[in-house]
């Protein structure tokens, strides 16, 4: 399976990013380049999980406000800064769900549905598409999160691990189990 190339950065680029972070820690106004770099990614991550575009922009802004406010707590772990931002975005998203401002939404494309049905070795017909749709909404939040990140957004296990603050192996196991649960629901 192809993996989202955005996550993977050379060590030089990671070092450049680290310099920007150090400068931003001293002066929040220096956070500008990082904001420009990651705004779209974070917005897409947020908007993918809700149906209100304006609210998605609001949540994205909150993510960056929180990131700047808590930048002094950030520790470089040799992975892109985006992992830390995604983690903040995840918590802000859940806050929005809890406040009943946003509704948990799963946005899928036909191509992704097709790939998944192929994975289950079933026919790509309308009935199966509908069934898979229903099964997705029946999944538990943890499993749905894994399916979204691994199969729809094509994130690497390493990145999933960084976002969820778990090991790469654990991310692998969890995504496999989530897929198995979806398969079971689908085969019922």
């Amino acid at each position: 399976m192809a993996v989202n190339p955005l996550y993977h950065q050379s060590s030089d680029r990671l070092q450049e990013e680290l310099i920007l972070i150090r400068e931003a820690k001293k002066d929040p106004e220096r956070f500008g380049p990082l904001y420009k770099k990651y705004h779209e990614q974070i917005f897409r991550y947020v908007y993918q999980r809700m149906d209100d575009q304006d609210l998605a922009f609001d949540v994205t802004s909150k993510v960056f406000i929180k990131a700047i406010t808590n930048l002094h707590k950030y520790e470089f772990r040799g992975v892109p800064f985006s992992s830390w931002l995604y983690r903040i975005a995840k918590s802000e998203l859940y806050q929005a769900y809890r406040d009943r401002k946003a509704r948990r939404t799963v946005n899928v494309e036909s191509m992704q549905i097709f790939e998944m049905i192929e994975e289950f070795e079933e026919n790509d017909n309308t009935a199966n598409k509908k069934k898979l749709f229903q099964c997705l909404s029946l999944l538990k939040e943890q499993d749905l999160q894994m399916i979204e990140m691994r199969y729809f957004e094509k994130r690497s296990y390493r990145e999933i691990g960084e976002i969820l603050d778990i090991s790469e192996n654990n991310a692998k196991v969890r995504s496999f189990r989530a897929l198995e649960r979806l398969r079971k629901l689908f085969m019922k």
Partner: protein
Amino acid sequence: MNKIKTVLDREPVNSDFIQSKQDFDEVLDGVRAARTPLWKSSWFFGVVGTACIVMTISVVSIDSTSLSTAPPVKAENKTDNTIQKSKSTVFAVNQNDTEENEESAEALIETSETPINVQNSSSTENSPNTQENRVETENEFQSAVENTVAGTRINYYGGMFPKIGGVYTGSIKMSKLCSGVQIETDPDYAVVSFKVGYYDGAKEVEKDVRGSYFPAEICQTLGQSKTPEMITLTKIKAEHRVTGKTVFLNSMNIEATPD
């Protein structure tokens, strides 16, 4: 959480549109608004709170230290016609008697700002012997002995301890108590009135007594008892023999034992 909504093939958002929505200044404003002001931060409260407690403790300890180690009032000071905040008028306060405390406090306030006028004093005061005696008395007043009663620090001034038949607290023989003894204290002061509390065999009785002598009628009542009787002497009012200023002395609890 609401039920999960699934959307198929939602119209993708254009990158240019997303970039047009970027507003870093708004984010910075949000950061400024999100920051808690200095006076609201927890560490500020911690530091200020601790400083307040330390200051309060030090002020209280300094105050009590200065009370017990204050230098004696010198005789020469008496020549000034000024208000002397004399420590000699500070007396022990019985912690068990709140009402008495208030009265004592009033009396202390009244007597602590007494102008001491040499001209108004008796002519003998100017003689060296008299002055020496006064200084001694003052020193006696100042020699505070720190005692602890029920965990509370109280400064007692030995010269102003009331005594009856040589007893301040504890047992006294009934015969001695009823042999015409009086409440004694510092020679400069005379006891003018007090309250006696005792058990007359049926109920607790409290009587006001004028003068310093223990009343004979109470002796008659107490004499009938064959068991030790607890007698409380409260609101002991004493008057300065020269200035006429009044103070309240320590309350006394004595046990009158039958012979």
